[in-house]
């Protein structure tokens, strides 16, 4: 009987069920898609303000879609704190590293340190690595295994982008924008399919 009461497993399953709806994928993917497309229209500054709005919309969507079907659960303070702190830290570091990568892509003098030159040359590969590690860590923190697949997808898309997009004719924001938009479309698609399955599995009570 003691084997049946694996509390860690129950906790993990609770977290997984909470994110089974695919809304997280849709919102992150939607943001990446918007960021990617706005880099082509030249309105990229708008996308820096979008996370705050996305967070509000995400919590509203949870209230309307998830709670009436799966039910309401309030995680312990420790778990909420753990997820919040770790996710913030991962996103902060990822943002910082991405910005560094972007700056190095905006043109470096020939006598720049070798590290900067290397970053400049393999910029998209570097950014792909940042995306991959970010998804990997978020998947681990939030116990969502499908975030691992986005890690692999990010690597593949940025790797392809390195060969097809990273040319002197494309400005840096756009060379980041195209892979972001592609990853965004994939995430929204997978998220929508999870949402469809979730709605079928947990019909709303009459």
């Amino acid at each position: 009987m003691t084997d049946d009461v694996d509390l860690k497993e129950i906790e993990r399953r609770a977290l997984t069920a909470y994110h089974e709806d695919g809304l997280l994928d849709i919102f992150i993917g939607g943001y990446l898609l918007f960021f990617g497309l706005s880099s082509f229209t030249g309105h990229i500054a708008v996308s820096w303000f979008l996370p705050a709005l996305s967070t509000l919309l995400y919590s509203e969507a949870k209230k309307r879609v998830t709670y009436p079907r799966l039910g309401y659960v309030r995680f312990t303070k420790e778990m909420r704190h753990h997820i919040w702190m770790n996710t913030s830290l991962v996103l902060f570091i990822a943002g910082l590293v991405t910005l560094t990568g972007l700056f190095t892509n905006m043109g470096v003098p020939e006598r720049a340190p070798w590290g900067t030159l290397l970053l400049n040359k393999y910029n998209l590969l570097f950014l792909g690595g940042v995306f991959a590690v970010t998804f990997l860590m978020m998947g681990r923190i939030m116990s969502i295994s499908r975030l691992y697949q986005y890690s692999v997808i990010s690597l593949l898309v940025f790797f392809a982008g390195y060969f097809y997009l990273d040319s002197p004719f494309i400005v840096s924001e756009q060379s980041l924008g195209a892979p972001c938009a592609i990853i965004g479309v994939i995430m929204v698609g997978i998220g929508a399919s999870h949402l469809r399955r979730f709605i079928g599995r947990y019909p709303k009570e009459a």
Binding site: V5, I10, E11, R13, A14, A17, Y67, G71, Y72, R74
Partner: protein, 104 residues
Amino acid sequence: MTPPPNNPDLPPVNEIDRLIHEPARLLIMAHLYVVEGADFLYLMNQTGLTFGNLSSHMTRLEEAGYIEVEKTFVDKRPNTRLSLTDAGRKAFDEYRASMKGLFM
């Protein structure tokens, strides 16, 4: 199987909380133990218990003072929220300790 009366090394089986030991109630207690609170629908989905089954076990646990049941309205619809009381948390800890003691 009951332990021989003169064997002090074996933990007393009689001390195991039978209210928690019942599989459905054990499942409910375990699910509530890892969260701060959850509603009836969430527990039904996670434990796989039917409405009637969960309802009757919920009443037993509430009567024992192990869980707290709060009935509210969300968007004009009735909503039943459950959480473990301090006594329930302590009882569950003791239950786990005694079960571990039995099999160690």
